[in-house]
Each structure stands twice: as structure tokens, then as C-alpha cells.
């Protein structure tokens, strides 16, 4: 079974998808992200899909679920590196994915993640559930 590694980068998780995101792999990845997020109190997850040469509605759903999962766990998620041909295809496919955040590459993705987390903190005010950030 293929296993997608999750790397810790500071306060974030970096996931580089290099294999086909089919059913068992996708489910395993969702589980792994959940476990890691909770274990290390990561505030953000970066998913690098630059190796994916195809995103169909199933993969779109998986990415959407992962975003919802992150939000439920108080984190943000950004998807980076979508190939141009894939971007054109998903738009024509009708896959909106408008609850997802995208950036061109990992660097820009990190900046976006930081901004999203900052905005999140500000909208909830200080002192609510942020104690673990001091660890």
C-alpha cells in the first residue's frame, strides 16, 4: 500500500502527494493528517499536488474533505502546485473547490497559511484556545 509521508516544518505539516490519490491512499492520508495535526498541534497544513497530473471529482472531494477536517481541528489548509493543464481541466469539469485555498508553490503557500492563521486568530480574539501555541 502506498503511504504519503507527512513532514513537520515548524508549526506546519507539509504533505507532498507523489502518487495517485486513489481510495485507500486518500483515506489513509486523511487519517494520518488528523493524527499528526492533533499530535503536534500544527496550525496549518500544506498539500503539494505538483506531481498530480490529474485531479478528478473524487480527488477534488478528498481535498475538500481534508480542508473541512483541518478546519474542524482548528487548522488551515492550503493546496499548492496545481499543474496548469489540471487547473484548466477542473474548471471545465465544473469542480469549483471554492472552499479551498490555493497558492502557486510551497513558498507562497507558507505565506498564505501564515496569513490565514493570523486572520483566524484575529477574528476569534486573543486568549481563546491559544494556550498550546506557547509550548
Amino acid at each position: 500500500m502506498n503511504h504519503i509521508p507527512i513532514i513537520h516544518v515548524g508549526n506546519y505539516l507539509l504533505v507532498t502527494v507523489q502518487v495517485d490519490l486513489h481510495d485507500s491512499v486518500a483515506l489513509r492520508l486523511q487519517d494520518d493528517i488528523t493524527i499528526e495535526l492533533v499530535k503536534v498541534h500544527a496550525r496549518g497544513v500544506l498539500i503539494d499536488i505538483s506531481s498530480l497530473d490529474m485531479v478528478d471529482s473524487f480527488v477534488g472531494r478528498v481535498l475538500g474533505n481534508m480542508t473541512a477536517l483541518c478546519h474542524a481541528l482548528g487548522s488551515q489548509m492550503v493546496v499548492v502546485g496545481m499543474q496548469p493543464a489540471v487547473a484548466i481541466t477542473i474548471v471545465e469539469l465544473g469542480l469549483l473547490l471554492d472552499n479551498l485555498h490555493f497558492a502557486r508553490n510551497v513558498d507562497q503557500g507558507m505565506v498564505l497559511l501564515q496569513n490565514l492563521i493570523q486572520a483566524d486568530s484575529e477574528s476569534y480574539g486573543s486568549g481563546s484556545g491559544h494556550a498550546h501555541e506557547q509550548e
Binding site: D20, H22, D23, D53, M54, V55, D56, S57, F58, G60, R61, G64, Q83, A85, V86, I88, T89, I90, E92, L93, G94, L95, L96, L97, D98, N99
Partner: protein, 126 residues
């Protein structure tokens, strides 16, 4: 190619990609056709109870094309109009398979009979 489970969907994608690469289709056309193929093959497995996929090269005068036929013997499509209009699609992918594939390819043909099954044929010209 048999379509019994989701692993077979991957095989269909790989076959389509390989054929199109060999025949020098553009990357964009490859991506669109592979994506459409994935949607249809998945539909056959998930909704059609499994089926078969058949890949052919087609020629129309000077044009060269790739044709994929996906057939299942499932329940058939009850509301064709709704299925082809994006069905239950709410933007996150559910229900997009048929209508989406249609948008992506050059030719789209569908035959469905309630209680008998569904056959979808898509063609991409080079």
C-alpha cells in the same frame, strides 16, 4: 478492460494516458481525456455495479482520435436530464462525473436503459 473496482479505474487512466502520449496528443487534451475517463470508469464501478471499458483509435478523414467506451449493466440512469446537468453537484464534486466528462471531450454519446445499464462513449481528437 474489466471494471470491477476502483483499482481498475487507475488502469483505465494509465491506458488512456499511454495511448495519447504515444500518439502525441497535447498535454491539455491528455489531461482532459484522462480525467473524463476516470469519471466514467468510476461511475461504472460505483453506480453501475462494475462493467467494461474499451479503448480504440479512431480516424475521421485526416483526424486521429481516441475513443473510450464505458459500459455497465447497472440500474441505468433514472433522470437523464438531471444527471447531465450536473445532478447533485454542489461544487465539491458529487454528481459531476457525467456532465463534467461531457464538457471535457470532443464527442460524447450516452445510451442508458433503466434496469439494463448505461453505455457512455467519449472521443478526443488530436
Amino acid at each position: 478492460m474489466a471494471l470491477h473496482n476502483v483499482d481498475d479505474v487507475i488502469l483505465v487512466r494509465l491506458a488512456v494516458r499511454k495511448w495519447m502520449l504515444e500518439e502525441s496528443f497535447s498535454l491539455l487534451k491528455q489531461t482532459k481525456m484522462v480525467t473524463a475517463s476516470s469519471e466514467l470508469a468510476r461511475n461504472a464501478v460505483i453506480h453501475g455495479g462494475g462493467g467494461v471499458a474499451r479503448l480504440d483509435k479512431v480516424e475521421d478523414g485526416e483526424r486521429l482520435g481516441i475513443r473510450l467506451m464505458v459500459e455497465d449493466h447497472g440500474p441505468g440512469i433514472a433522470n437523464l436530464k438531471r444527471a447531465l446537468s450536473g445532478g447533485y453537484s454542489n461544487g465539491n464534486g458529487l454528481g459531476l462525473g457525467l456532465s463534467g466528462s461531457r464538457q471535457l471531450v470532443d464527442q460524447f454519446d450516452l445510451f442508458s436503459e433503466l434496469g439494463k445499464g448505461t453505455c457512455v462513449t467519449i472521443t478526443m481528437w488530436r
